[in-house]
């Protein structure tokens, strides 16, 4: 099929879908609003498929300055779409809990919006994936953030949800403040907001006789502030402090969305920002060093603090900090020019893809199990292997993938990350990584141990809706598939769209 559509079409379809649903929802009657997510899932899936047939051309000239349509951007758009689809599936499973904590006359009160907001968020994420200008980055980021404020605090009858919302709000706004201030400074130093132009302008600005010659402090100051803002989004230590509380308090699908979508988008932006500065002589080294420090801190904090957790959701929150650490390790390797095995961008992308699959899978299983066991502590998983072998197996795969066992996507991600790190001789980071991987094995396997070693607390079998079963099965299969055949993902990253036609010709 000839590829003639601009990738921007994707966002547009998503937005239109969101708007349509919003209106349709307000005019529809009936308490059962499952048709909304069902419809969105179908449409988003179509968009997902459609994304393989778009061109790498950003289309209209006007958008070019802000919008990049390279393979990476497309790839992250797909991630966003996929995440949203799964989150919607989760939301359907979760609606019972949700309804309890939303004031409303009917069972389905407020659910329509809950299903619509992720679609807008998704659009925001997709914009972020393409954003190459601080302007668009900022706007898209805020779109995502603000919808997350709402989503996190959605269960307003539950004070923990609200508390999480407030914490996220204040700290999020704080980080936005720093991000903006950082953008200001970078703009001030370079006179540009577009990343490409910044990268072009910088050598001249820094050169002998240039405006910044001998005083990179301002530039560094700006970069650091931006890093802080982004570090907040991706949950990197020491700006991770909000993560556990917010993850625990938020409705579980939102938590999943936060930990995957927000993080993925944050990372693509981070990668783009860092890439613009990393090749500068002195500044680049500093940036790399600082990111490496952040990586080390995140690894240690996330993984170690996850060990004593009893609540699975909270444990996954800490672990998500840890995963941010692994990703940052790869980001810290961006100054390598390697394009084959060991390339840092590939590592980030692959890791995120794997992380997406496994995190979503574990949250999905968690929602199902928590619905039945009335709690999401690890001990609620006791004996799951007996109660529902299918769910237990899926969770097993998710946990193994998170821990990084071969033949799962998570392993290839870690493999690539550490390959990049070794290649860049970040041996101290690797050393920390060794400790934290071991710690990770401990806390992930605790879930496995609970599922298989322990006797179940109650013997009721867990029933599953067909959609959830399909999604869980699909995610599990995908984790294993990409753990053995990474090539499809690599194709998406390396070849310009349309990847399908390309790989078929081989």
């Amino acid at each position: 099929m000839p590829a003639v559509y601009s990738p921007l079409t994707l966002e547009i379809i998503v937005l239109v879908l969101g708007l349509f649903l919003l209106f349709a929802e307000s005019f529809s009657k009936g308490a059962d609003k499952r048709w909304i997510p069902n419809l969105s899932i179908v449409v988003l899936a179509m968009v997902f498929v459609f994304s393989f047939f778009t061109s790498g051309d950003a289309g209209v000239d006007l958008t070019k300055a802000f919008y990049s349509a390279d393979a990476q951007a497309l790839f992250f758009k797909r991630l966003a779409l996929l995440t949203t689809i799964v989150v919607l599936v989760m939301s359907i499973e979760y609606r019972g809990v949700l309804a309890k904590f939303i004031p409303g006359s009917t069972d389905g009160a407020g659910l329509g919006e809950f299903f619509c907001l992720p679609i807008f968020t998704c659009a925001g994420l997709m914009f972020m994936a393409s954003a190459v200008d601080f302007l668009l980055i900022f706007v898209a980021l805020e779109l995502v953030t603000i919808s997350f404020y709402v989503l996190v605090a959605y269960m307003r009858r539950q004070s923990s949800s609200l508390e999480a919302g407030v914490k996220y709000l204040i700290l999020g706004a704080l980080s936005t403040g720093f991000l903006v201030y950082g953008i200001t400074w970078i703009f001030g130093m370079t006179g540009e907001t577009n990343l490409k132009q910044i990268a072009q302008a910088l050598p001249a600005v820094l050169a002998e006789g240039g405006r910044l010659h001998g005083s990179e402090t301002g530039l560094l100051f700006g970069i650091m502030l931006v890093l802080i803002g982004l570090g907040f989004k991706v949950a990197a230590a020491p700006f991770q402090i909000w993560v556990p509380d917010v993850y625990q308090g938020a409705p579980t699908p939102v938590t999943a969305f936060l930990s995957v979508g927000s993080k993925a988008a944050g990372f693509i932006v981070l990668v783009r920002v860092v890439q613009s500065f990393v090749h500068l002589p002195h500044v680049g080294e500093k940036v790399v060093a600082i990111i490496a420090v952040l990586a080390g801190l995140s690894l240690l904090y996330g993984n170690l603090a996850a060990m004593p957790q009893e609540n699975l959701k909270r444990m996954l929150a800490y672990s998500s900090i840890g995963h941010a650490g692994y990703l940052l390790v790869a980001v810290a390797c961006l100054n390598s020019n390697l394009t084959t095995f060991g390339s840092a961008t590939t590592a980030v992308a692959f890791y995120l893809a794997g992380y997406l699959l496994m995190t979503l899978l574990s949250f999905l299983v968690m929602i199902v199990v928590a619905n039945h066991s009335r709690g999401d502590d690890i001990l609620h998983f006791n004996g799951l292997g007996k109660r529902s072998p299918f769910l237990a197996f899926a969770m097993l795969i998710a946990m193994l993938s998170l821990a990084g066992i071969p033949f799962t996507a998570g392993f290839i991600g870690k493999f690539l990350v550490f390959a990049a790190a070794v290649q860049q001789h970040h041996y101290w980071l690797v050393g920390i990584g060794i400790i934290t991987v071991a710690a990770g094995f401990y806390y992930y396997l605790r879930v496995v141990a609970a599922m298989y070693w322990q006797e179940p607390n109650d013997d009721t079998r867990i029933s599953l809706s067909p959609l959830a079963r399909l999604t869980i099965g699909g995610l599990t299969a995908a984790i294993i598939f990409f753990g053995i055949f990474p090539q499809p993902i690599l194709n998406m990253l390396h070849t310009p769209a349309p990847a399908v036609a390309h790989s078929m010709s081989h």
Partner: protein
């Protein structure tokens, strides 16, 4: 501006803080004017000093907040916070004063009759079309959010 900014922080009563903030924002608008950014100055007054702050005051009144009662203040935490803020402030000063080109005065503009709103508008609607539309979505989302979070009974 700074004085009132400080008063925002110092005042124990949220209402006083809010009013200080209004004044501070007005001062800020004046500074914008000084920088030949008239459009921004206007927006600042309208949106910030006007709408936003009214909203704040409204909420304060709604929640019927009185001055923070004197709670046992954790001295160490307070000192720590102050220290961090001070350190950050010093860093800002150091960065700013280290910025040599900034010591020179502002370059002159090519025209004295700056059609400021026009330029911003042009930029906004042509070059920055895409982000502008995204902003629209953002506001929509915010609206939905406010509705959902505040409505007493959802249908």
């Amino acid at each position: 501006t700074l004085v009132f900014g400080a008063s925002v922080v110092i005042n124990r009563n949220p209402v006083a803080s809010a009013l200080s903030l209004v004044v501070s924002f007005l001062g800020l608008a004046a500074l914008f004017v000084g920088l030949d950014a008239f459009f921004i100055a206007v927006i600042q007054v309208l949106v910030y000093a006007g709408a936003v702050m009214v909203l704040f005051l409204f909420i304060i009144m709604l929640l019927d907040l009185r001055a923070e009662e004197r709670r046992k203040i954790n001295k160490a935490a307070w000192a720590g916070g102050a220290l961090v803020a001070l350190a950050f402030f010093l860093q800002v000063i150091a960065v700013v004063s280290g910025y040599r080109p900034g010591q020179s005065p502002f370059p002159a503009l090519s025209t004295n009759n700056l059609n400021d709103a026009h330029h911003v508008g042009m930029a906004l609607f042509t070059h920055h079309n895409l982000p502008f539309q995204v902003i629209g979505v953002l506001i929509l989302v915010a609206t939905i959010g406010v509705v959902i979070l505040s409505k007493r009974e959802l249908k």
